[in-house]
């Protein structure tokens, strides 16, 4: 699995920069991962290596288990009742499906964000500082400083610096989504899981969020679930294709972005990418 620099260049205008994820070392590897709700299989035997520092997008039609797969990666599945996970997920050589794992530490290392921006009705600054407080940063000044760094990092600083104490819910949708990403980043995770981060946003806002995501390349391992094939093509290093096989979803193909979009191996993938199936 090698990325051809040439092809990347044609697809991604910013790729004249050194690709950040050339290491190709898996950060997370799922092996035979299956999830069932109430005994009904949702995803079945999913095997996927997720490379360190890369942006991996997960594509596929609705209801084929993309989001379920994502929430396995930081054990959000534990919150659903009657949810059973089998198989293994290796994260830095630890199997995180182990029930004894410290969930709090795990979720601190693997952050997650959702479809709809969901800042609690707190002030903008509070939205970023409360996770820090709960994770043991005692001095308020430290928390505020860290929050400001992150706001700069996600490009929100200039937009909100004058109203840090106003409710986050007064921000626009795109701003809220970037705030939520910032909230996940404030804990300095290694991995960031994004579940359809742009689907609730207008095109301009989603362009800004896309730029933010691509700017994370190299520094974080990012997994993005998306419906938007063009978006996947724009931001991804690697792409994984989910499809319903029988009753449950599974990965039918995964590869770097260029071969996936230009010469898909699987016929279903090809048809899906051409817009003939979906």
């Amino acid at each position: 699995m090698t990325t051809s620099p040439l092809i990347t260049q044609t697809i991604r205008p910013w790729a004249n920069r050194e690709p950040c994820c050339k290491t190709q070392l898996p950060h997370i590897t799922t092996t035979n991962l299956s999830v069932s709700y109430n005994g009904k299989l949702a995803i079945d035997h999913v095997n996927l290596p997720i490379n360190r520092g890369c942006i991996t997008t997960i594509i596929g039609p609705s209801g084929c288990g993309k989001s379920t797969f994502l929430s396995c990666l930081n054990r959000m599945t534990d919150l659903a009742t009657h949810c059973k996970v089998s198989g293994s997920i290796a994260f830095n050589d630890t199997d995180i499906t182990n029930p004894k794992i410290n969930l709090i530490a795990l979720r601190r290392q693997i952050g997650m964000n959702f479809q709809r921006p969901n800042p609690p009705p707190l002030s903008i600054q509070k939205n970023l500082t409360f996770p820090l407080k709960q994770h043991g940063i005692k001095r308020k000044a430290d928390r505020v400083a860290k929050a400001q760094t992150i706001l700069r990092r996600v490009g929100l600083w200039d937009e909100v610096k004058d109203r840090l104490q106003t409710p986050a819910l007064r921000l626009s949708g795109g701003q809220q989504q970037r705030l939520c990403i910032a909230r996940a980043l404030v804990l300095s995770p290694e991995v960031l899981l994004l579940d359809e981060p742009c689907s609730a946003l207008d095109p301009i806002a989603s362009g800004v969020v896309e730029d933010l995501i691509t700017s994370l390349r190299g520094q974080y391992t990012v997994v993005v679930v998306t419906h938007n094939l063009a978006q996947a093509r724009r931001i991804a290093d690697n792409v994984a294709m989910f499809w319903m096989l029988g009753q449950a979803g599974t990965i039918i193909e995964h590869s770097p972005v260029a071969p996936m979009f230009e010469s898909p191996q699987n016929e279903i993938t090809a048809a899906y990418l051409r817009g003939e199936r979906g």
Binding site: I104, Q134, H135, G136
Partner: protein, 279 residues
């Protein structure tokens, strides 16, 4: 460190639940154990004698039901139309609706003893009804009105606008829409309101002390004084040495009555409403 706080919080939550449960189980088992021994059919139908130490609560049950009857017969005809006006005919923010709502908000907060003062001054003396079932029932009626209006209004509001549009499209008049479509659909709210009102009225003591009076005899008319179950409990507990056993039994009857009304009405409403909603 955070883990440690989290663990303490968890322990405290479970401890709170355990504490609250055990205190309340204490009360309930105490009431049950002491009350059940005295309970019998005889107790329910005979008149109290020897200041309530022996005999039963027959006339008191009748007085209670009469007070309740007066209360509902007067509060429903005022409460339901008011709720209809507030939910269906008053534009949001209109001064009239707002005024009535704030007035009802205050009414909902008025302490029951103040209702007692008012009932005593207005119904008993000013209107000359004296200490009577009528005075007591009317006083309670003022008291339950906000509850009744609020839940009926909620019920009306929960009727989807589609129904109204469909009715308008059919060319039904407002009155017909209201009568045929909206009211049947809003009945669950009305019934919840009725249950809440009955429960509150049954439980009330302070407002009745100075309006319906104390007499523990069988009432002959609504102008007679009648003692409600709650006042009987109060009297037995406070003024009758050796009245505890009967007080316990009366408390059991009152609580059982409250429970039965709750359960029966909700059962009946689901049953009956199924028939009405599938119009």
């Amino acid at each position: 460190m955070t883990n440690w706080t989290n663990r303490i919080a968890t322990v405290l939550m479970w401890f709170t639940a355990l504490l609250v449960t055990s205190v309340f189980l204490w009360i309930i088992t105490d009431l049950l154990r002491q009350g059940i021994t005295h309970l019998s059919w005889e107790f329910l139908v005979t008149a109290p004698s020897d200041a309530g130490r022996s005999g039963g609560i027959g006339p008191i049950l009748i007085s209670t039901l009469l007070i309740l009857g007066v209360c509902l017969l007067t509060s429903v005809p005022i409460g339901v139309p008011t709720a209809i006006l507030l939910a269906e005919f008053s534009r949001k923010g209109h001064w009239f609706g707002r005024l009535i709502r704030s007035s009802l908000d205050v009414l909902a907060g008025v302490p029951s003893i103040v209702f007692g003062l008012f009932g005593n001054a207005f119904f008993c003396f000013y209107l000359g009804m004296g200490f009577s079932i009528l005075s007591g029932g009317l006083t309670l009626s003022c008291m339950v009105l906000p509850l009744l209006i609020r839940s009926t209004e909620e019920g009306l509001r929960s009727v989807p606008d589609d129904y109204r549009q469909a009715a308008t499209a059919l060319g039904l008049s407002d009155a017909a829409t209201l009568w045929r479509i909206i009211l049947p659909a809003a009945t669950p709210g009305l019934i919840v309101g009725l249950i809440l009102s009955i429960s509150r009225a049954l439980a009330e003591t302070a407002a009745l002390l100075f309006t319906s009076g104390y007499a523990d005899r069988m009432p002959q008319s609504l102008m007679d004084s009648g003692r409600s179950l709650s006042i009987h409990i109060y009297d037995l507990a406070m003024n009758v040495p050796g009245g505890e056993a009967q007080a316990y039994a009366t408390a059991m009857v009152l609580i059982a009555l409250l429970l039965i009304i709750n359960v029966a009405t909700s059962w009946a409403s689901t049953r009956w409403l199924h028939g009405r909603i599938s119009l």
